[in-house]
Symmetry: C2
Subunit: 324 residues, 2 copies
């Protein structure tokens, strides 16, 4: 039997998926990324995980048609390099694609940005099925994104398109982790939401989450969403502001790219209707008339599997392009 | 001889260009748009202008291979309608394409948004020659834009992509003509620049342009640029802020679309280096590392002819697509 392999390399986990030629997911695996042991070790971890999944499904290395891998951070797709990866200290211009290809006996291998890979998966087989174009927003510690136009991942001229977290929404505003000010991510990411909540407490606002006027050190965005759901007024206000900024982000996407569908994914979408209800409402208020009725906002359908599925689809595209 | 016709319908002028099959501009014409006389009259004005240009070049109607027309405002490209046109009162869902096709004896006719048409012209034969992707920003009374990706105009799902003037740069900020707040256009258009200048005078700031603490009613952005060039401190400060916001606009474009080149056009680019120098400098400060060295900012090469040239190119594309 022939198969495709899709790999999702994250700072926490390495996920591997094995797919039939028609992209049915046969088996998958997840293991902890041992980032601290360096690049060569992580590459060998990935190779071992792929071999293990192949072995337990009776698949020889020769049966793998192609391998796709999604990695965080700016990627040089043409050269197969991870340019920089925020959660992988010291990684710079590393040949992920060719290293893995060597470990897999030269099988065709493609490296893509992880957000692009996930967006492509939602476009092909997830929340964007049937759409002509899609923008995916990843809401987590940071805010990322991926863009699919006319059926193709839109990487941009320098493979950095879709940096949705770093569009300016307040000139000279909050400090962002990227070193600049006023980025969407500084307001509406999990990190930004927690920071605004802490600041409000620091200004003397009361909350059920406060311990003598301060939030516990390990408070998370989830704690704030939970408190908002339970009726905490400050938490509800903070979540409302997060939703307003995310709606602005959706509106910027619509005014520039005007996709059929915007898919929201990442840890924060676990907040469900509490966050997505107001995002949708505020976004519709902002949208111009035609997008107001046309543009669809949707939650991820593939969730944490989008990475391996998208990487598998990229592998399939690579195989079919080189075969034709 | 065969030819293509490119039409640029503006609120002030109707421009017509006549092109050889290889897109050399043979002749052109410009006449005042008699908007106040209504849709049917404007359509007949256009037809008469096209006939006049054809006649004086010895071209029969049968020699026109295809006609392209660029119009302002949201366009329904598939149905050939002008949905709304800000400077054409009462125009709503009007069949510009089919009306003109009727007047030209059924010759293939294509209607496009005027900003898209101009962006396409710069991409093919202007400041974006050789690039893979381009975003054009039109800086005038308002701020508009057009996007070309992989050689094709990117219209978006509802033909409203490239509304660069209406990306939010200050949540809850200045009132914009579109009815919303904080749009780029409210700060960095000619209108926004004049408004900020008047407000500064109203707050008691001194300027060589002030007449007893107020600006003359007919002050223009050009007056402000001229005063800045002549050393007026307030005018220079206002222009600097315009440049900062335009740089933010360029950065939003880069973070979402990441084109090879951003082309600036419209009345405000007449300010030249006084405006464009700081825009480029502030933009490079904002851009992420790879766009910082890659993305090119350029002034229009085609200027006021971009509309007829782009419309002519659309006509050529239409003819060649239908012929193949």
């Amino acid at each position: 039997m022939d198969a495709y392999v899709g790999i999702d390399l994250g700072g926490t986990n390495i996920k591997v998926g094995l797919f039939t030629p028609k992209m049915a997911l046969i088996d998958q695996d997840s293991s902890h990324t041992e980032v601290e042991r360096g690049f060569d070790h992580v590459m060998e971890q990935i190779a071992a995980a792929v071999r293990a999944v192949c072995d337990r499904n009776g698949l020889s290395a020769a049966g793998v048609r192609a391998v796709g891998i999604g990695c965080p951070g700016p990627i040089d797709v043409a050269r197969g390099l991870v340019v920089v990866a925020p959660n992988f200290p010291g990684w710079r211009d590393l040949p992920v694609r060719d290293t893995l290809r060597g470990k897999f006996g030269g099988v065709p291998t493609v490296l893509e940005n992880d957000a692009n890979v996930a967006a492509y998966a939602e476009f092909r087989v997830g929340a964007g099925r049937g759409a002509g174009s899609l923008v995916m927003i990843t809401l987590g510690t940071g805010i990322g994104g991926g863009i699919v136009i006319d059926g193709h991942v839109h990487r941009g001229a320098t493979d950095t398109a879709g940096e949705l977290g770093h569009v300016t929404v307040e000139v000279g505003g909050r400090q962002c982790g990227c070193g600049r000010r006023g980025c969407l991510e500084a307001y509406a990411s999990a990190t930004g939401t927690v920071a605004r909540f802490r600041e409000a407490l620091g200004q003397g606002r009361a909350s059920s989450l406060a311990v003598s006027g301060a939030a516990p050190d390990d408070i998370t965005a989830k704690d704030i969403f939970d408190a908002a759901a339970a009726g905490d007024a400050l938490a509800a206000e903070i979540v409302d502001v997060t939703a307003r900024y995310l709606a602005v982000g959706c509106d910027v996407i619509v005014n520039l790219i005007d996709p059929d569908v915007i898919v929201l994914t990442g840890g924060m979408v676990a907040a469900g209707e509490l966050l997505m209800g107001p995002v949708e409402r505020y976004a519709r208020e902002l949208f111009f008339p035609r997008p107001k009725t046309h543009t669809r906002l949707a939650l991820t359908e593939l969730g944490g599997d989008a990475g391996i599925i998208g990487a598998g689809l990229c592998a399939q595209d690579l195989f079919e392009t080189s075969a034709s």
